[in-house]
């Protein structure tokens, strides 16, 4: 927390960086190390959440980390999860503390230009929403003129709220920012905040995980779109490409009906498409610096994109987020989850 420590860490990390040979890709580092260092949140149910009942990290982002480890190293357990916050996540990648971050991070221009990270394909389409306590009886955003809105420090929501106030001509509404969702939700629960604003998925998750979910109402308004993607350090196309195609591989697996259950059956298929996609005969991996069976390994570990979604955000979870009819559906069903062709 101390400034001195932060700066010292920054300086040493920067020196450490500058002494790395420029040509080395993170991909080689990961393979050499044998363990993937993956940055995730641990307070975001459905994405990266430390389940207090099982003591395990779980969530869509966590499964993507496992998929990458399985694809690159052939073993989904070879992941070291590093907890990152909304604020620390970029520095964590820039200082090589982690190899990749999957932490419900909104893709926006300044993050690829000024912050200098490269984003992976969007793996979840979210929007900024508003949640209030049901006891205050607010039904829509327009009733909240003058209220105190709370969000996390360093999130896109801070600027989204400021523009929303401006558009509505509100001058007395306040924005309070907290370090993490846990404190934010506590502040809403205590009544300090009239409204909690962050991505709708997170709102649903926190309400769903609370002792009494009906105490909270998510307003129908969506303030802004908020596409999530993992990201890696800039200018390392070898690593970035490998990760991009692992992500696309999970999309394609769903589209082609490759599930955990049907995997072994499909591997015996004499269809050359499946033989190549799953790396049974030939494969796509070698030129990326990956094993040829990387998609097979990833699906074996965590399933295809649809299965990952069902496990973490599906109807059986506390924070069920409808997939049908949203951009999160496959493109064949009118959504935006789309993989380039594998040919």
């Amino acid at each position: 927390m101390s400034l001195g420590k932060l700066l010292a860490a920054g300086v040493f990390a920067t020196i450490g960086l500058s002494m790395n040979p420029a040509s080395a890709s993170v991909l080689d580092t990961v393979k050499e190390r044998g363990v993937l260092h993956c940055g995730t949140d641990n307070t975001a149910p459905g994405f990266g959440y430390l389940n207090t009942k099982t003591g395990q990290l779980e969530g869509l982002d966590v499964d993507f980390c496992k998929a990458v480890a399985a694809a690159v190293l052939g073993d989904a357990t070879k992941v070291k999860f590093v907890t990152v916050t909304d604020k620390s996540r970029f520095d964590a990648v820039l200082t090589n503390q982690v190899d990749v971050v999957f932490a419900h991070t909104t893709l926006k221009p300044a993050r690829e230009s000024a912050i200098s990270v490269d984003f992976l394909p969007i793996n979840f389409y979210d929007g900024t929403g508003i949640m209030v306590k049901s006891e205050i009886g607010v039904k829509s955003l327009d009733e909240l003129d003058g209220a105190t809105f709370c969000t996390t420090q360093g999130s896109v929501t801070e600027t989204v709220l400021a523009s929303a106030f401006k558009a509505k001509g509100w001058t007395t509404s306040k924005v309070l920012t907290y370090e993490n969702l846990e404190k934010l939700f506590a502040a809403l629960g205590s009544g300090r905040c009239d409204a909690m604003s962050t991505d709708k998925s997170a709102l649903a998750a926190w309400a769903g995980n609370s002792p009494n979910p009906s105490d909270y109402v998510i307003l129908p308004d969506t303030l802004d779109k908020s596409p999530f993607a993992g990201f890696v350090v800039a200018n390392d196309s070898k690593w970035r490409n490998a990760l991009r195609w692992i992500t696309y591989g999970l999309f394609q697996a769903e589209e082609s009906g490759v599930t955990m259950a049907k995997l072994d059956e499909l591997m015996k298929s004499d269809d050359p498409f499946f033989q190549k996609l799953l790396g049974v005969n030939g494969g796509f991996g070698k030129d990326f610096g990956l094993p040829d069976d990387f998609i097979q390994q990833a699906v074996r570990a965590v399933g295809n994109y649809g299965e990952i979604y069902e496990r973490n955000l599906g109807p059986d979870t506390t924070m069920y987020l409808e997939r049908k009819g949203t951009p999160n559906a496959l493109w064949t069903e009118g959504g935006a989850i789309y993989s380039p062709l594998w040919n």
Binding site: S116, G154, E158, R192, N235
Partner: protein
């Protein structure tokens, strides 16, 4: 120097040789100093180059241009400078203001808490320190308990405790407004009535009233004879002000749907941060004060007792004036610590300098530039505090020989 020994018996060692060896030693010593300085400068340059190369490799430029761009986010409290016409004036921060103005808002909040913190922690600290030596068993034990408890738990945890377990447990605004009349103590903030200029107030009556109020306060700090004089003068001034139409009215806070308006407001974040750093610093100051009181010669107590002064007068007129001269440098340290500890406000969402820096760094990606600015700001703040303390110290210490 051993020169005057030359007339005496032959020295056992060769003087010339010893002078040369001394010179050699000095040259060696000087060379070593120069080498250390050169090495330090070299390391610093290497650091700077490494940072620059690292930034260049990632394609990050080092620039302060972002300071003049619109911030695009809101800040819950605090004032900033803005230019209307040619003179800068204090206004509320809005999202259209620049990042530089956002940082100023953060600095404003930091200084606000630091100044109030210094004042209140000194008062509470002296009370606790004196309480530690009280003849009253209960007061002594309570002071001891508070000091030991606070000094032995981390400040960050105390801060989270004050915020979530104390300040946010106040009643909600709607219930609070009915409970406390003019004062509103709620989880949305604490609101106090505050005197404002009444409508149609005239300048003479405002001056008369201000003088009267100032005289009342002066009366608290002067000797008994002057006190009566000051109170009489204050009474006359206030009477005159009332005769002219009293210029001030109390502005009572009124609860609205989400927040109260009127009076002065203290946000829950500020209240919690202030409570945490005041109580924390006060417990350290108390120990400094206690140590200094115990260091005052017992003879001073005995002499005062012999002159017939009671314990209270002895303490306030004989002991504490001596104590303050001794403790000022240590207090200065505490004040600097306190002002830096305000950065912990980030943990409860208080928009102080470090918090605002974090937000700007995340929105613009300018981490390194921002941290440089923030470090310089804290450095200047600490320097100003220590300069003020040193000044007070040199004034107070004058004429005493300790």
């Amino acid at each position: 120097m051993t020169v005057q020994q030359q007339t005496g018996p032959q020295p056992r060692f060769d003087l010339k040789a010893s002078a040369w060896s001394r010179r050699k030693k000095r040259i060696k010593h000087d060379l070593l100093q120069i080498a250390i300085i050169v090495a330090m400068v070299g390391i610093l340059i290497a650091f700077a180059l490494a940072v620059r190369n690292g930034l260049a490799r990632h394609g990050i430029s080092f620039s302060f241009d972002y300071l003049w761009q619109a911030a695009g986010f809101d800040i819950s409290e605090g004032k900033t400078f803005s230019w209307s016409g040619s003179l800068p004036n204090l206004t509320d921060f809005t999202a259209a203001d620049s990042n530089a103005q956002a940082l100023i808002t953060g600095l404003f909040n930091t200084i606000k808490v630091a100044v109030l913190g210094i004042i209140f922690s000194t008062i509470l600290g002296v009370m606790l320190g004196v309480g530690r030596l009280s003849t009253n068993w209960l007061v002594r034990q309570i002071s001891f308990g508070v000091i030991e408890f606070v000094r032995n738990t981390p400040l960050l945890i105390q801060l989270v405790f004050w915020y979530f377990a104390v300040v946010l447990q106040f009643p909600p605004l709607a219930a609070a407004a009915k409970l406390y009349g003019g004062f509103i103590i709620s989880q949305q903030g604490t609101y106090l009535p505050w005197p404002v200029l009444a409508e149609g107030a005239t300048i003479p009556s405002a001056v008369a009233a201000s003088v009267g109020i100032a005289l009342v306060f002066t009366a608290l700090f002067v000797s008994a004879k002057l006190r009566i004089l000051a109170l009489v003068a204050a009474f006359a001034a206030l009477a005159l002000a009332i005769g002219l139409g009293f210029p001030f009215v109390l502005d009572y806070p009124v609860a609205n749907r989400f927040r109260a308006s009127g009076g002065i407001a203290i946000s829950p974040e500020m209240a919690a941060l202030l409570l945490a750093i005041v109580v924390n610093s006060a417990s350290y100051i108390a120990e400094i004060v206690r140590g200094a009181i115990e260091a005052v010669n017992r003879g001073q107590w005995e002499a005062a007792a012999a002159l017939g002064l009671n314990r209270r007068d002895t303490l306030s007129d004989i002991i504490l004036p001596q104590v303050f001269r001794v403790v000022l440098p240590s207090l200065g340290n505490q004040y600097i610590n306190l002002s830096k500890n305000t950065a912990l406000g980030i943990a409860i969402g208080f928009p102080e300098l470090f918090n605002i820096y974090g937000t700007i760094a995340n929105q613009t990606g300018r981490t390194l530039e921002g941290i440089v600015i923030v470090m310089v700001a804290y450095l200047l703040l600490s320097w100003i505090i220590s300069a003020v303390v040193n000044f007070a110290n040199s004034r107070l210490a004058m004429g005493t020989s300790r």
